[in-house]
């Protein structure tokens, strides 16, 4: 299970990258993307997926 970023809505602000506890988010080829292998949906770490909670465009969603 993992989250993904809907690129069409992303503002490329990078807020999610700074919050991810697993460094699953990075800026590659001009867009932010979540590495599904690293994403844990923040389970066991936080009460909610951090990227989705901070994202101003509500574009971090379950993959």
């Amino acid at each position: 299970m993992a989250y993904k970023i809907k690129a069409s809505d992303c503002t490329a602000c990078g807020a999610c990258e700074a919050e991810c506890p697993n460094n699953a988010i990075s800026f590659k080829k001009g867009a932010y993307a979540i590495n599904a292998d690293l994403c844990t949906e923040c389970k066991g770490q936080f009460s909610s997926p951090q990227c989705a909670s901070v994202c101003p465009a509500d574009c971090c969603v379950p993959a």
């Binding site: 809505d9 602000c13 807020a15 919050e19 909670s53």
Partner: protein, 518 residues
């Protein structure tokens, strides 16, 4: 890039070249000690004056002479405001939060050095977003300041924040010698705040409603207290939202004053459906010019007010009211290669301004004393719109003005009370009637408009609208001219030759607040 600037070209009469546009200045004629950021050296402790005298936002006087630059290295934010939509990015718009190019700290440093070479008036580097400068750990913000402090230690550093993350960073701010911090505080009551902030992200959670507003409020007050107790100057920005926090801002003014804020800057809400903000889409209106001024006047006596804010973009470059950001794109900066930082031009410029200012203080005081003596205190103050390119002079043509500076002049003296953005009336030689209508509604509460020059047509329209066009003070200093005019006005009023212009309002233009240079 040899850039020898002739000081005459900057400050000479009417030929204010490098300095396209700077508003008015210090109201030494202000009788009370509460006349806002227009205070001069006599009104504050010497160490505070040292910090603000060359900062265009913290000293109204400085804003005639000095330029600031924002670098857009902080795109992330940790709250949502109903007046902001960070998806929106249009280079023709001028609002805080809007930016055309996001920069890495390395790019920002190169851009700053390049700008410093071309604009010797540059004295302040600010980080104001386009998100929150302290969100995402403030990493890019502090990285940029760290590099800058090494390369160009004479530039002042300042940052803006919504305050949520502020308490975590106060020590770092103090360590980097950042001596100016702006906090945007729109409320001191969560009941009010819940209508402004739909959510915040704090302590690994998204909070909404009253909880969100309560946390934000507490963090803002804590951050403010921590900064002022360390001697860091704090400016508080508030967005005036009619029907939501307009009257409440008087409480905000008191609350921030009691916690040591240096300046309070009440700005009008910029709201337009096209911006895609919550307020824009729901039809929330911004205040009129008089509503804004009345509120600002009511707050006089509390925390000092700033009235010369231009609500600049997060990547603005230049004197307040002008924006030369588009001259310094990433592509152009990269093409310039290594830029050396040479302080010579800036130092010469600063010395020149020091001299100029000393003389100005005395001249203003004399003009004011004269009016106080001859006019007495019975005559009501009037508003005057001024077309200026900077340097405290009336040196712009009516048709070329992209903004008018508003002065209130009365028996107690002349002071800058605001500015009004307009569309240029005259573009490419011929007058544009729509634009003229816009200018009239923007300065409709003024008795006169001071210009360097004006054509026959607009002159007639102004007179028809009851606003007197005045070009006899062309290239003179603004405040002395305003006082001379007021003396004459009071005399004509006494003879019954004219009537006072009262009860008028004016429209605040919601488009670009900052002129782009052609």
């Amino acid at each position: 890039m040899a850039n020898v600037i002739s000081l005459d070209s900057i400050l000479g009469v009417g030929e204010l070249k490098a300095a396209a546009e700077a508003p008015p200045a210090a109201a030494s004629g202000c009788a009370s000690s509460s006349c806002g950021s227009s205070d001069g050296p006599a009104d504050m402790a010497p160490e505070v004056w040292e910090k603000v005298k060359n900062h265009p936002c913290y000293s109204e006087e400085a804003h005639h002479y000095f330029a600031r630059m924002h670098v857009a290295v902080a795109p992330a934010c940790n709250i949502q405001c109903n007046y902001c939509n960070r998806k929106y990015d249009c280079s023709n718009e001028s609002r805080p939060g809007v930016v055309s190019e996001k920069l890495t700290p390395d790019q920002a440093l190169r851009k700053i050095l390049a700008v410093a070479q071309e604009i010797p008036q540059l004295s302040v580097i600010g980080i104001a977003g386009p998100g929150d400068s302290l969100a995402a750990g403030g990493k890019n913000t502090f990285k940029t300041f760290e590099m800058l402090a090494k390369k160009a230690p004479d530039l002042k550093l300042c940052l803006s924040t919504n305050g949520l993350a502020l308490p975590d960073h106060v020590d770092t701010i103090a360590n980097y010698n950042i001596d100016h911090v702006t906090i945007t505080i729109n409320m001191v009551d969560p009941e009010v705040g819940q209508h402004i902030y739909p959510w915040i992200f704090h302590d690994h959670k998204r909070w909404t409603g009253l909880d969100a507003a309560k946390i934000l409020h507490e963090r803002q007050m804590l951050g403010l207290e921590m900064l002022t107790s360390r001697g860091i100057l704090v400016k508080v920005n508030s967005v005036m939202i009619p029907g939501i926090n307009d009257e409440h801002l008087m409480d905000v003014n008191k609350a921030v004053k009691s916690r040591g804020a240096f300046l309070h800057n009440i700005m009008p809400l910029i709201s337009d459906p096209a911006h895609g903000t919550h307020f824009g889409l729901t039809g929330q209106r911004g205040p009129t010019a008089q509503e804004l001024k009345v509120l600002q006047d009511q707050c006089e006596g509390g925390a000092k007010l700033m009235r010369h804010c231009r609500q600049c973009r997060a990547d603005a470059v230049g004197l307040l009211g002008e924006d030369r950001g588009s001259e310094f794109t990433i592509d152009r900066i990269e093409a310039m290669g290594e830029v050396e930082y040479d302080q010579e031009a800036a130092r010469t410029y600063r010395e020149h301004v020091e001299g100029e200012r000393a003389g100005r203080h005395a001249a203003k005081a004399a003009a004011q004393a004269d009016v106080a003596e001859t006019v007495g205190t019975a005559v009501q103050p009037i508003l005057i719109a001024v077309a200026t390119k900077g340097g405290e002079r009336i040196n712009e043509h009516f048709g070329h003005a992209k903004e008018f500076q508003i002065y209130e002049v009365g028996p107690k003296g002349a002071k800058f009370v605001g500015h009004r953005r307009v569309d240029q009336y005259c573009e490419g030689g011929s007058g544009d009637e729509d634009a003229l209508g816009g200018v009239l509604s923007a300065i409709n509460d003024c008795t006169a408009v001071f210009v360097a020059k004006i054509g026959g047509c607009p002159s007639t329209s102004l007179k028809d609208a009851g606003i007197e066009p005045v070009d006899r003070f062309a290239f003179e200093y603004i405040e002395e001219s305003a006082l001379t005019y007021f003396k004459d006005y009071a005399e004509r009023l006494g003879q019954g030759a004219i009537n006072a212009r009262e009860g008028q309002d004016a429209v605040i233009r919601t488009g670009a607040f900052t002129a782009r240079r052609a």
